[in-house]
Amino acid sequence: MRLPSQQQQILLRWAPQRIMKAVWKKIVPGLFIICWGIVLSAPFGIPGQIELQSGIILGTVWFWVLYRPQVMSLPLLFLSGLIVELFVVTPPGFLLLWMLVVYGVAQGVRFRLAQGGFFRSWGVYALTVLGGVFLEWCLMSIQAVAIISPFAMVFQWVLTIGVYPLLHAGFAWGRRIFDNS
């Protein structure tokens, strides 16, 4: 049986490590967004790379706000969005705006969707993303002063909602590791 003073010493000894771990947990989604934003801006020449960049970022925001909102704080989201804006080719500010919209929608329906299954949350995410890609398509058409082919919009939408199940599975696995650590 340890004495209270001994327990206090142990706590003090491990305090920096615990703080670092807590901070690390708080910034992991933000770091994930920034890293993928940078990696997918590299010239790999992968087909659909740009669309995949947006899809991963939005899917990350959706998952963590829906299932673990405390690790995806709004300031962190805004900061990571600002940084990622430097590496994307979408109209300036648009991805950041749509990250905030996804954040808002996920916050609003979090309690209802958290109780439902995966497909329900995926469906709502698909509708949210549809609004985003449609708005981006409108902006690009206005900028080009012509109606751009809607195929680009459909491709981006399908890719964004198509990559989400993979992200969901990966993040669910990561969340268990977080919880156990």
């Binding site: 590299a42 790999f44 300036p92 500010g93 950041l96 705006l97 902006l139």
Partner: protein, 311 residues
Amino acid sequence: MLSIHTRQVLAGLVLPILIFFAVGLAFVGQVWPQKLVSLRLAVTGEMAPIYYGLTFPQREVRHWEEMLHGVTDLIAENQNLRQQNKQLYYWRDMATSLKAENKKLKSVLHWGIDPSLRYVSGWVVREESGPYLHAALLDVGDQLSPHMGSLAVDDVGLIGRVSEVGPHVVRILLITDAASRIPVTMLPSGGDAMMVGDSVSLPHLMYYAQDTRPVEGARVETRGQAGITGGVLIGHVHYLSSGQPIVIPAADLKHLDVVRVFDNDTVLDPPPAAGRVREHGPLISVPPKAEGEPKWQGLKRFWPFSRIGNG
């Protein structure tokens, strides 16, 4: 210290404020896109080393893939190389052949002539060498046929004279033929003689003056007179035995290929040395006095090719 209610109200305001900022950023990006685009470009420029590092595995994988692809395609590549090698051999042979042909044509070109004078060139299509005939058939194509008795030269010297003229082919009677009679001049003595072929060996020298006997090694040229151009190198004097001077031809009569035939009145300026292209115009000699064509001119075919005169 803020109350819980105030904090909740403020927390609820953060998202709209940030959305407002994001909308403002999007608006600025639409209205003044240059600065934001420049900022993105600058960041991309700074990120170049990181991008290089990120794409390094991809480049390496591609490199390995190309290597593996090359290894698997080795047989096909080998086959392709063999085919190309074959083609290259063909082109090399073609180039060698063209080079040799070009050299021959150039060697003929070193005869200086007046461009206004007529001449034809052609390839020897057949050599008619037998016990009684030493001639060559020259393919002149659609070129204007030369006259009878015209001089034929290779790249060095005289080979003979035109004995028959056809629509596309002319026969050159070589200087070694028994019917060949060519007036010559020996240098430096300047003595004249008649070079006579005998179809057996090299042409002999006959009818020379006793005071200007052929000297061993003397240069032999055609004698300028009516119907024949003077000064064309034939060869050199050589004595097979005492009192039997022959002419060793400068031209290679055994290997005739490209031959040029100058028309009767053509004035040739012989080359200073074989293989040299003449850079200045030829010396034009005084043409022979015009005289009426005798009626028996047609007999020239059976007659010695020219007659000796003072022309």
